[in-house]
């Protein structure tokens, strides 16, 4: 229907390493890019900045975590802490008068530095124990943030971010902020798409599958683990900073607490480990779901004439969020990305699928 192919066949190494081997995919991406650019003219700014912008930023975060968890196979439950490092360093730098371009860079590098510390744990342990250590590091970071007024911004524990500006231009308009988020998300996506095609990406996958087997093949697994953590942390740091600069406008410790780490991991897993398109879908599902569930429940309650307590209504989205994770892992542990891939594989050769058999 869309693809009109008999399958993906390569004649040369070059065609095998193309970013989009299927022409329809490339066209679809171009279409989506154009849609992204045109979005401010198509979508009311309430939705643009209330839903699309945070979705893009969280997607960038999910991609970053996917790099270390999905590709390099290292469990990371302290991603929120890494985002916090980037956010706070960047905001402090910006408040100090450093232009935002450099402030973002500082945020990313600071996160990289702290994130690489996590990698040194990954050298020593893996699997469950790595997860527990990173979780504990998240708690340490939470504690440091809430207990040091110098970082978190005094008694109210909130830190106002200076007006966002790039190239000397203040960016305050809704469309402007949206483009910043959009640009960053596209940049991270391109990076991840390209990473797949490089030796680095392949080495990361080798480390994930069996780190000592990779080591025997001459892949320095420690080096690649550090690289994975550092790159992922850089993305996390800049994303955290952008989240504060374009969406929250002030930084507070609870924006990067342990539940944020779990939420990003949930997005990764529901999207599908290692899947780029899945990262977009996972972030969208987890972000949109609480609002939708709330609407449904209050609607149903009204329809049935039930009295629902404020507290009940407040906690139902949480229950639904947990249920979503549980059900997803039960039904399709490989995530939305896998579902998409199934549909795509089917449609790829659709009218000609007798050829496959």
């Amino acid at each position: 229907m869309f693809y009109r192919l008999s399958g993906v066949h390569h004649n040369s190494y070059k065609s095998d390493t193309k970013m989009f081997p299927v022409r329809t995919d490339r066209n679809a991406i171009i279409f989506l890019l154009l849609l992204g650019i045109a979005a401010p003219f198509l979508i009311p700014s309430l939705y643009l900045n209330g839903y699309i912008l945070p979705w893009l930023i969280w997607t960038a975060a999910v991609l970053g975590l996917n790099l270390v968890t999905g590709w390099a196979g290292q469990l990371h439950l302290g991603y929120g802490a890494i985002m916090a490092v980037g956010a706070y360093s960047a905001v402090h730098a910006a408040r100090f008068g450093i232009p935002w371009e450099f402030a973002l860079l500082i945020g990313g590098l600071a996160s990289s530095l702290i994130g690489s510390l996590f990698a040194f744990t990954a050298l020593r342990v893996k699997g469950l124990y790595l997860a527990l250590t990173t979780l504990a590091m998240q708690f340490v970071m939470d504690w440091v943030l809430t207990h040091s007024p110098a970082i978190s911004g005094g008694s109210h524990a909130s830190l106002q971010a200076p007006t966002f500006a790039l190239l000397g231009q203040d960016i305050t308009s809704d469309a402007g902020l949206y483009y910043v988020a959009f640009g960053w998300c596209v940049l991270v996506t391109i990076f991840m798409l390209n990473l797949k095609r490089t030796g680095l990406g392949r080495a990361l996958v080798a480390v994930r599958e069996k780190d000592f087997a990779a080591a025997i093949l001459g892949v320095n697994s420690f080096y690649y683990k550090v690289i994975a953590f550092a790159a992922s942390s850089f993305i996390a740091g800049v994303t955290g900073a952008l989240l504060v600069a374009t969406f929250y406008f002030l930084a507070a410790p609870e924006q990067f607490a342990v539940n944020v780490s779990i939420q990003v991991l949930a997005m990764v897993i529901i999207g599908g480990l290692g899947s780029i398109i899945g990262s977009y879908m996972g972030a969208a599902l987890i972000l949109l779901m609480p609002g939708v569930v709330n609407q449904i429940f209050s609607g149903v309650a009204e329809f049935m004439g039930l009295e629902m307590g404020v507290e009940t209504l407040a906690h139902i989205p949480n229950a639904a969020y947990g249920a979503l994770i549980v059900i997803f892992l039960m039904v399709e542990p490989l995530g939305l990305g896998k579902l998409y891939a199934n549909v795509r594989d089917y449609l790829m050769v659709w009218p000609f699928d007798q050829l496959k058999k």
Partner: protein
């Protein structure tokens, strides 16, 4: 230095630590049989306390009915969770199993609070709040009761693991395939361990509910329980008790000195530090087993 005061800190720390051991024992029971780190144990604890409350306060039944009833209900809740959610994930990567238990944690917390609300309530076990003096040391009665419950559960588990059913559970934790080959029901054994952990969660919930009130913060005991379980060795019940005492003392004495420097709230920091250091230095904990390497 006031030695009486230090002794008091130590003893109270050890008692609190034994209360952490309760959470840890629940974790160990499940980890031992199926190598699943149950990050929902905190939420189960909270649910256990709320179920007891539902019978004793909402229905007004006496505690001696409410608690056994909650034990029975939670036993089946635990078995149900294993049957519905965990069983089909067997053999999947650990990241999915961890995510599943975290999802369960979020789900159980959300559901509990949606049903019963989040405002803190007291359980009122009837334990007197009058301080209890041993020599010059001032101890809390409920902590002593809780520590006694922890020890009792410890002894019960040790005895249980010597029964035929207990031996089968240990066999399952050793080798799934070999267990199947001699006709042991692996699924049944793992489900049973979830049921037992949920029973322990009721006991934990009741004791902690009395100590700090029944509310969402009960689920935060997970971090302390997890730290105790890891420090003791994730598959050792004895480890859970010993490590509980150690962590309790470190937390109580350490936070007394540290709080003066950092200005309060250093308990969580100590717990997190113990967790990190344990994993870095001795991941299998004090009593956890290395896998046997035969020469």
């Amino acid at each position: 230095m006031d030695w009486i005061f230090l002794a008091e800190l130590t003893v109270n720390g050890a008692l609190t630590g034994l209360l952490y051991s309760l959470v840890a024992i629940g974790l160990v029971l499940i980890y031992k049989s199926s190598a699943v780190p149950n990050l929902a144990q905190g939420a189960l604890t909270m649910l256990g306390a709320y179920v007891v409350l539902a019978f004793s306060h909402n229905l007004g039944w006496p505690l001696w009915i409410a608690i056994p009833l909650a034990v029975v209900i939670m036993f089946f809740v635990g078995i149900g969770i294993e049957r519905v959610a965990l069983r089909r994930l067997a053999g999947r990567p650990i990241v999915m199993i961890l995510m599943m238990t975290m999802g369960l944690d979020i789900f159980l917390r959300g559901t509990t609070l949606a049903i019963w609300g989040g405002s803190s309530r007291s359980l009122n076990l009837g334990v007197s709040y009058d301080p209890f003096f041993v020599g010059d040391m001032l101890l809390s009665r409920i902590h002593i009761v809780g520590a006694a419950v922890a020890i009792a559960i410890f002894i019960a588990s040790v005895l249980f693991f010597r029964t035929r059913m207990g031996i089968r559970l240990r066999a399952i934790s050793d080798d799934y395939l070999a267990s199947w080959s001699v006709g042991i029901s692996v699924e049944g054994g793992v489900a049973l361990s979830w049921g037992l952990a949920s029973i322990v969660a009721v006991a934990t919930g009741v004791i902690w509910g009395e100590v700090q009130g029944v509310d969402q913060s009960l689920s935060l005991l997970l971090l302390k329980g997890l730290t105790v379980a890891v420090l003791g060795g994730l598959d050792s019940i004895l480890g859970a008790i010993v490590a509980g005492i150690i962590l309790g003392i470190m937390e109580s004495v350490g936070s007394f000195y540290l709080d003066a420097i950092v200005g309060g709230g250093s308990r969580d920091l100590i717990v997190a530090a113990v967790l990190i250091l344990t994993v870095m230095i001795r991941p299998h904990g004090l009593f956890g087993r290395h896998d046997i390497e035969r020469i």
